[in-house]
Symmetry: C2
Subunit: 104 residues, 2 copies
Amino acid sequence: MPEFNHVTVTKAANIYFDGQVTSRTLTFADGSRKTLGIMQPGEFEFGTQAAELMEILSGELDVRLPGEDGWRRVRGGESFEVPADSKFSVRVLTLTDYCCSFLS
Amino acid sequence: MPEFNHVTVTKAANIYFDGQVTSRTLTFADGSRKTLGIMQPGEFEFGTQAAELMEILSGELDVRLPGEDGWRRVRGGESFEVPADSKFSVRVLTLTDYCCSFLS
């Protein structure tokens, strides 16, 4: 099974939307960060600071990216990028497991 | 913030009860394992193989341990141990963030 080695994990979870979205922060030796998270079914809007690569590990959701009017269906095994300093919305259809990489 | 250093994290989440309980597995250099998890409000029964130390990082739940009739209230900052090869039940009152250590 894919794994991340030699990382630091912050013990406490990141908790958003009353626990409908939660994640753990992983910090790598080079200082870069990723979060591994779970989104419960529902609709959520997020804001980015750094650009983000969102890898969907399992589950199914629709995403509306900044500057796009329509929603895009994303499934496990697929990913999408979000520019820095922008907002994006998701409609989580089934429980979604994700890995978010913060792009410098 | 408390953190775990030099660990290996399995990328995919452990998902139980349709996503009402989810966790990430951390493996340490000495081969020991912990999971960092989230329990949504609800009632769940778990089975252990190895004995477990359950540290409640935040949230509130009632737990019924094997051999005990009553429920015990456990809050963030508190913990409980569960013997190997046994079952225990939880009634999660508020979203609960936990760290489970598998005791050899």
